[in-house]
Symmetry: C2
Subunit: 98 residues, 2 copies
C-alpha cells in the first residue's frame, strides 16, 4: 500500500523533539553537542532521533574528526514546512494547539 511510505515520512515530523531539531537546523548545520545544548534534551535520545531523521533524508550527516555535523535537507523540507505553516495559519485558528 502506498500509504506506508507517507506514514513513514510523516512520522518523523509528528514528534516535538524531531521538529525542534528540524527548526533548529533551518539556521545552519550543527554538531550533536550544539543540538543537545539548544534543545536541552538527552544525548542518547537525540542521537536516536537524528538517526531516524537521516534514515529518510530529512537530515544529512558529515563527519569531521570525532564530531558529526547534521544539516537540514532544505530543498524538500523547507517548502513542505511553508505549506504546512500556511495551512495552520489559515485553518487552525481554533485548534487545540494552534
Amino acid at each position: 500500500m502506498i500509504c506506508k511510505s507517507y506514514d513513514y515520512f510523516f512520522t518523523k515530523f509528528a514528534n516535538r523533539a524531531n521538529l525542534e531539531i528540524i527548526f533548529l537546523l533551518k539556521s545552519w548545520p550543527m554538531n550533536v553537542k550544539m543540538i543537545i545544548e539548544k534543545t536541552g534534551r538527552e544525548q542518547s535520545a537525540t542521537s536516536h532521533n537524528l538517526k531516524k531523521l537521516c534514515d529518510c533524508n530529512i537530515l544529512k550527516v558529515e563527519k569531521r574528526g570525532r564530531e558529526r555535523f547534521y544539516s537540514l535537507n532544505k530543498e524538500t523540507v523547507l517548502p513542505i514546512l511553508e505549506l504546512v505553516q500556511k495551512h495552520i495559519r489559515k485553518n487552525c485558528k481554533g485548534c487545540k494547539y494552534a
Copy 2:
C-alpha cells in the same frame, strides 16, 4: 513553543488509517459508510479518525439527513502531499518502507 501546532498537524498524517481516508477522499466526498466499505476498517475507529481529521481542517463535513459527507481540504492538503511524494521519490529509494 511553535513546534506544538506542527506536531499536532503532522500527527494526523502519521497514521495509516488517516492516510487511507485522505487518499480516498482525493477522488470525491464520501459518507462514512462508503469510507468504511473502501477502507475495510471499523465504524467506530473510523469515526474517531474522521473527527481528528476535521479538528484541524484537513477534512470538512456536511450533514445530509442522517448521513455525513466528508471531503478533503484539497486547497492546502494536495500541495503538501505532492511535495512529500516528491521527497519520497527522490530521497527514499532505500528507505525501509519506500
